[in-house]
Symmetry: C2
Subunit: 333 residues, 2 copies
């Protein structure tokens, strides 16, 4: 477990919150031992915490290749090594995404049916949430890779949410006649033949309207959709705050509306949605957003704990093997 942009205080607060929430949880923190001890001391949390000292860390702007080659004693690398050797059950990082994907892929290897790991996360809806992948681990993914993402994502929704046959949609653009690139059209055909509960093309607004449980897309469009949502939500929150603080009367109405606005914010608190999973590896790796607080970081830990507890990796491996058989069978038809 390693910190992000805001460093160890966020990590320590997050660990403390998660440990309080889950009596079955213990955490291993990887990084500068002295700094970790100081951060943990400030939140008053030392039991169920191990520390593994490392001398290096991966810079937020470091290239994945450089991280992989030159940072063998980085907190990121050592944490993933601990996961690879089975000493921990999951790994959470708020560090450099590209370096994390590359290092995790090197240390853990992808599952035998998977060529590239994908980043998956949930986004809030009026009721519940929707899963979406890939959120930026890969760009220019061909149809076969998008099909792998679909299978992994479907398996994750079943495992974590307990939905037997989650609905799967393929993200595409609006107009009928320009419906998709060649890659999208080819993926559409693969999905139709896959045996998944595939509902066809979905559009950007379908992310939030509850029409689908898993949305599959290339990492470019997925990242654009995710970041656009984050940016819009942030702007609207800021503007609501501005509008309510314009004058004396609006401040009074803000006080009166406070419980409603608080309940509203609670339903869509982005911190609750922190913690994206790197899918397709031999092990559970969770990416926390780099610019979040301790509460958000604790939710990334929750995600990792749940994935490990439900044996997400084992379920995906099993489902991929099963679907490989069914896909092979489906080919002649």
């Amino acid at each position: 477990m390693m910190g992000g942009d805001r460093g160890l205080n966020v990590t320590a607060t997050g660990v403390s919150l998660a440990l309080d929430r889950h009596p079955d949880l213990s955490c291993t923190l990887v990084g500068d031992e002295q700094q970790i001890r100081a951060a943990l001391g400030s939140v008053g949390k030392t039991d169920r915490v191990d520390i593994v000292h490392t001398s290096e860390s991966v810079d937020m702007h470091e290239s994945p290749a450089s991280a992989l080659r030159f940072k063998k004693d980085s907190s990121m690398r050592v944490a993933l090594d601990l996961l690879g050797s089975g000493e921990v059950d999951a790994c959470v990082s708020a560090g450099n995404t590209g370096a994390l994907v590359a290092t995790a892929r090197f240390v853990l290897r992808t599952l035998s049916e998977i060529d590239r790991p994908a980043i998956i996360s949930t986004l809030p809806r009026t009721q519940g949430h929707v899963y979406m992948l890939d959120l930026g681990a890969n760009i220019d993914s061909p149809a076969e890779i998008l099909m792998q993402f679909s299978l992994m994502g479907e398996s994750m929704v079943r495992t974590i949410e307990g939905i037997e046959r989650p609905s799967v949609g393929l993200l595409n653009v609006g107009s009928e006649e320009i419906k998709g690139s060649e890659v999208i059209k080819a993926t559409n055909e693969l999905l139709k033949a896959s045996g998944l509960n595939y509902i066809g093309y979905v559009e950007g607004d379908d992310i939030f309207n509850g029409s689908v449980e898993l949305i599959v897309t290339d990492g470019f469009a997925g990242n654009v959709a995710l970041k656009t949502s984050e940016g819009l939500a942030q702007m609207l929150t800021q503007v609501i705050r501005e509008e309510f603080s314009r004058g004396f009367l609006t401040r009074i109405s803000a006080l009166i509306a406070a419980p409603v606005l608080k309940s509203f914010r609670g339903r869509f608190d982005h911190r609750t949605y922190n913690g994206a999973v790197l899918l397709g590896l031999n092990g559970t790796v969770v990416k926390s957003h780099g610019k979040v607080d301790g509460l958000a970081f604790s939710h990334a830990i929750d995600t990792a704990r749940l994935a490990a507890q439900k044996d997400l990796t084992g379920h995906i491996r099993h489902d991929l093997e099963a679907s490989r058989i069914s896909l092979t069978k489906a080919t002649p038809s």
Copy 2:
């Protein structure tokens, strides 16, 4: 001018509102004369309105090729013909986007420096708005096409907003190390050498934070960003309404907060942002969203009126010729 999904009442209301707003405006409505007369009658508006009767219309799910080949007396085709022959100054349609792009391209032809038209629109920000293109006219656009979009978009922001050197950003994904496909990287190089006020890569959240005035992207990612924003805004509006109507006390607080919420909604009313321009044609064509009301439709008419009044097409033509010279000069260095 033609209707969309909701038909002629929306068009008639929109026309009526726009005519009331602009004493210099007159409208030609193209479609079934009898139905148009009835719709205009119901909004009590007949002066400054001409009607051109057509017997056909393009279906919302019709292919562009079919519309182009078989619907020569469709309202869409005839309206574009009127624009092509100079009988009207701009054309507004709420019809099938793909058919509109294809038919407009056939009837009006693209500007000589432009290979494909692009769809551009504004999105709201905390202060003012940001322009973004392409919103879905093209997918899989190569770097040269994205460069054409950049030049046209920049010219439009200058012409309409009066900003001499608007800042231009290229939409890309988050992580440093996976920064963009080959197309994005190549476009980045072209933009750097273009002489435009190019600020580099931007991400989805930069759409709303005011850091850039024009965002350039492929129609796939652009459409995803637009639709995602629409979907999220719609969901949040619905949830705010739900939260305020949960019980007696929340209903009271809704009454008290009403002016604030109204002001908030006013700032981000998507209807104000209705009316996307098809850029790169010999003539002003505006696409209204298909599922909007008369107020929104009137804003699409406003957009068309403003573009025609400011001679948007002439400015783009002029700027493209100027930049072709500067681009040619820039090549040796």
